[in-house]
Symmetry: C2
């Protein structure tokens, strides 16, 4: 069992048989055909030679199959991580003069180390720093950035640059120089891909093909567009007309790249590697959870960290670049019937075969087709609905999301994701720094105490009962001091303050000190402080301190007990005992 | 009334009479005598000429009297802020070559702008980022740093440097060179000050002096030690023997320093100014709240920001350095009977008179005496009890505190306070990322549902009831997905999951998306998701979305209703209706 915890593959390999092998092989074939154009395209997006994309789709898949906890997650290059790699690689190359491929390897190495480290130290909770609105805002902004970054290749423009504002300006300025043949090819590929995605499966079904076959063919559409583009380039001699192609891809298996990057480069890349790791993990784990749930399986987030870390270490050792679990390919893998991670291993074999023998075929592949592939892939990432929903649901969440989008577009991916994290934290602190509270009074004839603003209740001029609807911790400790200071200053007749703690799940050391300060301040003003309805675990913790002894008042089991002890005259007539207890009535 | 909100002084000036004037004058005299040596000493601690300390105790007091909301807070130079000023000034001077006095003025200017801005934008909540354990750890570490920084002056060593490790090394290395006359003078001052603080008031009371007089004399002890040291230096010609003195202090009122610092310097100082402002505000506001509560007055934190900001702007315009509300002097002011901020204005006049005519007397004041004054003042800031309490109460709070102390001592004040903020936030996220939860079942014969681990309760194999004891927000949204995924994977017979939300005060957009994901995942596994006991405000917010419509299950008013609807057979016999309603029993 211990072996299985370290190497989850041991669990599923034990029961592996013919049936699983057949399902996995079918799924792997479909994913392979889908992955070849994507691998080439995402390498281009990352600013790296096309073969790097193939290499990143071989060894990492095998490493994840051995160490990952999801049965159907498909890892490899993905759009957002490729964009983040492009930014980090371009900056580090410019500053250190290092070769981009070497920088990408170092990035995968660092990211792998960081992910494995987080997994072993069980630090998966750090991914919680990225709230859903921040992540969805970041991905939407990244998709826009990616689309704009692919426009030059689609339009046949020679434009370089990374920031969104500078790219938009540069593209607009060089629009007159657009290359018509490239544009025609790119637009044709774009339209074909969009049509295939929208209608192909339905059309094939209407032609009475089986669902499986229709699905498989629809998924091979990008590969078909790739082949058609290559044929067009070769048939019409478009290369001579100035259409830029991928060019010669050196055939062969991935190289072993085991030299350790320089420590100066690693230090330079550390922040980018951390962000790439966290974003990749968050994306991947949510895909893995969705697929696992469909079969009542589960994934272990800390084991996922180890699996993704192993995949990135494998990428760095075999000429690749940072990878993570991809949404589209994992869903395809799942829908095509993948049963175990062996499907990933078989996909890796398919890509390896491609790298060995098929690369000469891709030399004439136009870059405009790859750009179209990328644009169609990332269009589905733009989630305007998520922005509208965040706006309607909570202005706080919307503010974090809008800030993330604005900073990502204006300043780039790393400042964008950091701004999202900082904004979420600050807004959370702000939101919980002013918790909901209610001054409560007795609902006549009951032992219930409710908000004086919403119910006709009985209160006492000598006893102030306050219910706080939030855990008490450092962000709202001072709020409590202010609140009680203000309420007491308004009530000259006051003798007792009762804090009703029924909604308090935690009192941290800051809140405890605030309670002590409140207790002392009230004491010096001649007022006693009492607590009521303190939850068990909270009271256990308070008992470890001398606070209960220093409290000028008492800790009551219920708010009713508190007011009955402190100012019984203020209470309305209670329900007669006989009725409440269900005793027989006379007569 | 609007005028009073902008200028709180208008409120107390209206009723100002003879009686208040007398009380304020007595208090101001005592505080002035206490403040003169402190002002000189804290200027030395900040690495500035002594007159700067006097200047910082004149105009800022008048500005605070006009704009502050506390009646008895006494502002001026304080130990921790002086240390932070020393660090920031030394670093900026070294980097930009600017004059330390000019840098300190710029720091006060920026800090003033920032405080006023926070007050006007009502951003006082930002101070909540500093938890109590972090602040107390920071102050304890600062007190240790300050003590060590004063050792060279006390021992007559020529040592410079700022970091704790380098200072300790440098002092140890130059110990053989210590100056015996300086040491004798410093130790004598230290012992006298400690004895006076510990015993003087009691002794004077035993000599049948009135409490007020005994108090006043005890508070004048530092002034007496200053005078004694000056007499010793002059009588024994210690200056010729090598005892370092304060030297000539130019007499006169504070200069007008209205030139705007360069924007490069301001940018350089911004981080330090923000930290100085926040630390100063947090310290000051807690003193102000404590004193206000004693008289059932209250302070307005946002108005306090404006008051402290005005004080710092005044300091920057009149040759001073960053100031804030001091604990010791405010308590003295309060105890000596100050009734209104006029006491602060009168104190400012006293210090102004000193600056005008008394400065020649201080030329022979030995620096060792000032060092002793500082050390005695900061000793009371070391709060070992707070560390012990944090350790006993909560390991999480202790970790944040210990981290703050360690980083402050090892790397300095700015990294220290930043480490404290980041650690508190991360630890809070970590703590709330794994909220307490319970699987609940019916307590037989009741409608109560309690933890299956603590109570003998009835559960159903088809219905899983989970109570989450925390608000649902981005930090624990994924926890919920993991939790439900795990629990469902363990229960093949499950048909329904009911989330009991009685302790959920908030569901943010991340948690809503997690609930939607859980809903869909459960649906694809053939399980319905239900909610129960959702609080009113939480339900109001959910109704703004399409979540209630998409929920595969229902929202029940109570957990009992839920289980009665979903699996009535699993419920134990309910209490007979008759008994519950108190109807007469037969017989």
């Amino acid at each position: 069992m211990r072996g299985e915890r370290l190497l989850p593959a041991l669990a599923w390999l034990r029961g592996y048989g013919r049936e699983e092998a057949l399902s996995d092989t079918i799924a792997a074939s479909i994913v392979t055909v889908m992955l070849i154009p994507q691998s080439l395209a995402y390498a281009m997006l990352a600013g790296l030679p096309p073969e790097v994309g193939l290499y990143a789709s071989i060894a990492p898949l095998i490493a994840y199959a051995a160490f990952g906890s999801s049965r159907t997650l498909s890892v490899g290059p993905v759009a957002v991580i490729s964009l983040m790699t492009a930014t980090a690689t371009a900056e580090a190359s410019a500053r250190t003069g290092a070769d981009p491929v070497g920088v990408a390897l170092a990035l995968a190495f660092l990211s792998g180390l960081f992910l494995v480290g987080m997994g072993l130290l069980r630090l998966g909770f750090l991914a919680n720093l990225l709230s859903h609105p921040v992540i969805s805002g970041f991905i939407t902004a990244s998709a826009i950035l990616i689309t704009v970054s692919q426009l030059p290749a689609l339009l046949g423009l020679s434009v370089s640059g990374h920031g969104f504002p500078e790219l938009v300006v540069a593209i607009s300025a060089s629009l007159p120089a657009l290359h018509l043949q490239t544009l025609a090819l790119g637009l044709a590929a774009l339209v074909l891909l969009l049509l295939a995605r929208q209608y192909l499966r339905g059309t094939l079904r209407r032609l009475r093909l089986s669902a499986t076959l229709a699905d498989g063919l629809a998924r091979a559409a990008p590969m078909a567009v790739v082949i058609l583009s290559i044929l067009a380039v070769q048939g019409l001699d478009l290369e001579a007309a100035g259409v830029r192609t991928v060019g010669t891809i050196p055939p062969g298996l991935p190289p072993l790249t085991l030299t350790l990057p320089s420590s100066a480069l690693l230090l330079e890349l550390l922040p980018a590697a951390v962000l790439i790791s966290v974003v990749g993990f968050v994306e991947s784990v949510s895909v893995a959870q969705t697929l696992a749930a469909r079969q009542r399986q589960r994934i272990d987030p800390n084991q996922e960290l180890v699996g993704l870390g192993a995949a990135n270490l494998a990428a760095s050792a075999t000429g690749g670049f940072p990878v993570t679990g991809g949404f589209a390919r994992s869903v395809v893998n799942f829908d095509a019937g993948a049963r175990t991670p062996m499907a990933g291993v078989l996909t890796a074999l398919g890509i390896a075969l491609t790298a060995l023998v098929l690369t000469p075929l891709f030399a004439a592949l136009p870059r405009a087709t790859l750009a179209a592939t990328i644009i169609v892939a990332v269009l589905s990432l733009v989630d305007i609905g998520a922005i509208r929903r965040a706006f309607a649901y909570s202005r706080v969440d919307f503010a974090a999301q809008a800030g993330t989008i604005a900073v990502t577009l204006a300043a780039g991916v790393e400042p964008g994701i950091l701004a999202g994290i900082v904004l979420s934290l600050l807004l959370h602190i702000w939101r919980t720094s002013r918790p909901h509270y209610a001054i409560v009074g007795q609902v006549p004839g009951t032992e219930h105490f409710r908000n004086v603003l919403r119910h006709a209740v009985l209160t006492s001029p000598h006893v102030l009962s306050i219910r706080i609807d939030e855990s008490l911790y450092f962000a709202n400790a001072r709020f409590l001091e202010d609140l009680i200071g203000r309420l007491v200053a308004e009530r000259p007749q006051l003798r007792h303050v009762v804090l009703m703690c029924s909604a308090v799940n935690l009192i941290d050391a800051s809140a405890l000190e605030s309670l002590e300060a409140i207790n002392e301040r009230l004491h010096s003003a001649g007022i006693d402080l009492h607590l009521s309805e303190v939850k068990g675990p909270v009271m256990d913790r308070l008992r470890r301190t001398d606070f209960p002894g220093r409290l000028t008042g008492r800790v009551f089991l219920s708010q009713y007990d508190a007011v009955r002890a402190l100012d019984p005259a203020s209470l309305g007539p209670a329900r007669p005992e006989g009725v409440r207890e269900g005793a027989p009535q006379s007569g």
